[in-house]
């Protein structure tokens, strides 16, 4: 069976990165602590994956303060949304191919 893996986005190979993207695509924005709680990952782990997505310009970061506490909000960029949709399409195609 031949599967076209080239359509898969390298940035989404990691499960957590794909999960972060799913949350950001479904929401206007999401903050760091809520993401951490939802995905049940450690601070460092989440931060490194967020950095990777930011490097790809799939997400944008907005740092604000609530009182004196830093509050970092993440938003999916247009580029990120397109890439996410493409990745989902590729997953769908893969299932369709295997059903044949």
């Amino acid at each position: 069976m031949k599967i076209s893996l080239d359509q898969f986005d390298k940035a989404f190979e990691n499960r957590i990165r794909l999960q972060i993207m799913s949350v950001l695509v479904a929401n206007e924005y999401y903050d760091f602590n809520s993401l951490k709680e939802l995905l049940e990952v450690t601070d460092g782990n989440l931060a490194s994956h967020l950095k990777a997505l930011e490097k790809e310009e799939y997400i944008t970061v907005n740092k604000t303060f609530v009182g004196r506490k830093p509050n970092t909000q993440y938003t999916a960029s247009e580029k990120g949304r397109t890439a996410f949709e493409k990745h989902l399409k590729a997953l769908e195609n893969l299932i369709r191919q295997q059903k044949q």
């Binding site: 794909l18 799913s22 949350v23 929401n27 999401y30 903050d31 939802l38």
Partner: protein, 207 residues
């Protein structure tokens, strides 16, 4: 990649999208209890309003406007409201804990903010009606604003809440058409509809 992996990947994406936007720990049981409180409250109110009138189904051509009766009704309504909210919050926190979810998350925050706007507007509006003595508009206003709050909040929780909201709005409009039957519609809207809704939710999601 095996097919099973892709399926689990896709279902985990769908699950995350839903859990990140919606608050799905609302307890069905709290709906049933709120309905029961409302029924008890309505029963007491019937007693208060119709103490001199033996037939409650008889159409009233006057509005209740004695201060003592109004105060009693106000106390009953507030008690029902506070009891329902306390039970609702308590049972919802319990359900969230059981499902290992945080009670205070983006979903519940959005749900509360979106419901609070129509609810507070309605609450203030009803207080203004009380002060101005426009008593006949109070029962429909309660139902309509509560229905609007449910519809507004429904985007952040189960979609079923929207249908409950629409039913409350329609009932509120009907109440406005038939002002003498305010208490009966109020009983249907806050009592029976809540019990019906709570039962559906309980069997659909809580088990």
């Amino acid at each position: 990649m095996i097919e099973k992996d892709i399926y689990s990947e896709i279902s985990s994406i769908r699950d995350l999208m839903e859990r990140s936007t919606k608050f799905i720990s609302l307890s069905g049981l709290s709906g049933i209890l709120a309905g029961v409180y409302a029924l008890i409250g309505a029963f007491i109110s019937f007693k208060i309003v119709y103490q001199n009138n033996p037939d409650p189904l008889l159409y009233r051509d006057h509005y209740v406007n004695e201060t003592l009766i109004l105060t009693k009704l106000f106390v009953v309504a507030m008690t029902v409201l506070v009891l329902s909210l306390t039970t609702g919050i308590w049972l919802t926190i319990r359900k969230a804990k059981k499902k290992n979810q945080n009670f205070w998350n983006t979903g519940s925050r959005n749900l509360l903010i979106n419901m609070a706007i129509p609810l507070l507007t309605g609450g203030l509006f009803i207080l203004i009606l009380l002060f101005r003595g426009s008593y006949e508009a109070i029962a429909p206003a309660c139902l309509i604003f509560y229905g609007l709050a449910l519809v507004a909040g429904s985007h952040y929780t189960f979609t079923d809440v929207k249908w409950l909201g629409i039913c409350e709005i329609l009932l509120g409009l009907l109440t406005a058409l038939l002002p003498g039957y305010g208490l009966i519609f109020w009983t249907i809207g806050f009592g029976l509809l809540h019990i019906l809704y709570g039962t559906i939710m309980h069997f659909k999601y809580d088990r």
